[in-house]
């Protein structure tokens, strides 16, 4: 029990206190540990751990092949890919001018070749799949179900259009017309009276048209309805307010959770 539980809890508390209060201490050894060694140690630890992970991956995939589970043929590619990467990493350098160690970031090595022609296209394409997913997600999710969803939709669309060059071409008057129609829907829902709705919409459109002729239809006036300016406002004011609230919540949550670990109130991450 002592080795399995008490020591780990003691390690958390000691290291935690040291790294937390080390921020206030102007003593070279402690400062060095907090600012440099602490994270380096973790990195070293993680680098050892990754061998463990790789072993687990190999075990799972080889089991699949040996037991001929469904899709075992594909596991051959996983094992093969891993072995190829390890060979490029530890056995064949491919460029004698570069030292071992520098070969993982240097030019002309097998490792670099693997990075450029296998790793890069795979990860960049996987990332690019998101362009499609984000389109289908917005298609499905941006529905005017309730007021909150509508806000999400409107702010999303304004940012999407206002941020790109085409937004500059969209006249503020067009947006104004749309806004009046949109408010018309709200008015209709609020009063449930066709006459009021009709009066509002026709009146609004008429007034806008008169104002438009009077002002000569400038693209970026009234500024409130010009997408590039409107998106800048949304992005700088309401967006920041919301983001800041979440940010502070997260900050507090992380602080409180960290303190719970350091003080040993929460210790289930090592099993209780």
């Amino acid at each position: 029990m002592f080795w399995k539980r008490t020591i780990p809890i003691a390690i958390v508390a000691t290291v935690g206190f040291l790294t937390l209060f080390g921020w206030f201490v102007d003593e070279p050894h402690i400062k060095n540990f907090v600012e440099d060694d602490a994270t380096q140690w973790y990195d070293i630890l993680a680098s050892f751990a990754i061998f463990l992970g790789a072993l687990n991956l190999l075990k799972m995939q080889s089991q699949k092949i040996l037991k001929k589970q469904t899709g075992w043929q594909y596991s051959i590619f996983a094992v093969g890919g891993f072995i190829f990467a390890i060979i490029a990493g530890f056995v064949i350098k491919g460029n004698d001018a570069i030292q071992w160690g520098a070969h993982v970031t240097g030019k002309g090595t097998l490792f670099k070749w693997m990075f450029e022609f296998m790793f890069t296209p795979l990860s960049a394409t996987m990332f690019a799949l998101l362009a499609f997913f984000v389109a289908s997600a917005s298609y499905r999710a941006f529905r005017i179900r309730n007021f909150e969803a509508t806000l999400l939709l409107i702010s999303g669309i304004i940012i999407m259009l206002g941020r790109v060059p085409i937004g500059i071409k969209i006249s503020a008057w067009f947006v104004l017309y749309l806004t009046i129609l949109g408010i018309g829907v709200v008015v209709n829902n609020a009063f449930k009276n066709k006459q009021i709705t009709l009066g509002f919409v026709v009146g609004g459109l008429l007034l806008t048209t008169i104002a438009g002729f009077w002002m000569g239809w400038p693209v970026d006036q009234p500024a409130l309805f010009y997408l590039p300016i409107l998106q800048d406002w949304i992005y700088n004011i309401p967006n920041v307010a919301g983001a800041r609230a979440i940010m502070m919540g997260i900050g507090l949550g992380i602080f409180a959770t960290s303190m719970r670990y350091i003080l040993g109130i929460e210790k289930s991450y090592i099993g209780e």
Binding site: L20, W23, F24, V25, D26, E27, T39, Y42, L45, A46, A49, I50, F51, L52, G53, A54, N56, L57, M60, T70, G71, L122, S123, M126, F127, L129, L130, F133, V134, S136, A137, S138, R140, A141, F142, L152, A243, I246, M247, M248, G249, I250, L252, G253, I254, F255, A256, T257, S258, M259, R260, Y261, L263, I265, E266, S268, Y269, I270, G271, E272
Partner: protein
């Protein structure tokens, strides 16, 4: 003044700090004093409420729908005879979110042990694999079902973000889990996971403090624990008084912060108008 021990302790800490200050505070970075006080005040509040809860005081805590849904999701998987997929984020244990994710995993493992539902936890970091296994093993043991636990429930895929996403994607489309839980720190892969989960019709619950990913989870998942709610999850799920007390303490801190913002606004405006010379902004700028 209910908790005598606490106040005595706090008094001792303050006294020690005073003594330290009076002897010339060696090795102390004095431009960070504000932060030191903030830490002491904040942790003091948290400890106070934790102790209060431990002594039997109970607090009201509102429901978080996403957390109620976790048990439902596990139940549904059981009915359908399918597995539960749990993704503890793509970062390592050096992120507080990941640790929180592993703790929630422990609670989920208790449920799957109770319902005898298969659990599948692909992870992207080996330390998380180790920690996840320990948490699951313990949960299955506590539920009296060590026979159902296997090490390979929690298995490693790869450290790489998108390779991991591709791998989990594959698991989803081929094994078709009925419930997908995403709890941890996420980056761009969040939408790949959530969209694929959606396409296989799984019930999806996400919890994350990765600010930029919350919107995707909100739109693509059935329930999302937003930011701080996620950190409250382990307290809600465990219902342990000391953890619930911490949540109450956090709430008090939020009230305090709102107060400081309001007072600070007044002070700042007074300063801007030249009525007072003390600069609030400068005071809170800690270098």
């Amino acid at each position: 003044m209910k908790d005598k021990q606490f106040w005595i302790g706090a008094g001792i800490v303050i006294a020690l700090l005073m003594v330290y200050y009076l002897i010339g505070h060696p090795f102390f970075l004095s431009n960070r004093t504000v932060m030191l006080f903030a830490i002491l005040l904040f942790s003091g509040t948290l400890i106070y409420y934790t102790r209060l809860a431990e002594s039997g005081e109970s607090f009201f805590l509102r429901d978080i729908p996403g957390l109620k849904a976790v048990e439902e999701a596990v139940g549904r998987s059981t009915e359908m005879g399918k597995q539960v997929l749990y993704v503890p984020g793509i970062m390592d244990m050096d992120q507080v979110e990941t640790v929180a994710g592993v703790i929630v995993l422990g609670h989920v493992a208790k449920m799957t042990a109770r319902y005898e539902t298969p659990l599948n936890v692909p992870v992207s970091r080996a330390i998380v694999m180790k920690a996840g296994r320990e948490a699951c093993r313990e949960s299955y043991l506590m539920e009296g079902r060590p026979d159902l636990f296997q090490d390979d429930m929690v298995h490693y895929l790869t450290d790489d973000q998108f390779a991991y996403a591709a791998g989990v994607n594959g698991i989803m489309v081929r094994e078709e889990p009925a419930a997908c839980l995403y709890m941890g720190k996420f980056y761009a892969e969040s939408l790949i996971l959530a969209e694929t989960g959606n396409s296989i019709g799984a019930i999806q619950i996400a919890g994350t403090a990765s600010q930029s990913q919350i919107p995707f989870f909100v739109t693509a998942c059935d329930y999302t624990l937003i930011g701080e709610e996620f950190f409250a999850a382990s307290a809600y799920l465990s219902q342990k008084p000391e953890l619930l007390g911490g949540i109450k303490g956090q709430d008090m801190l939020k009230a305090m912060i709102v107060g400081v913002i309001l007072i600070g606004s007044a002070l700042r405006v007074f300063h801007d108008f030249g009525w007072i010379s003390w600069d609030f902004v400068n005071f809170l700028t800690v270098q």
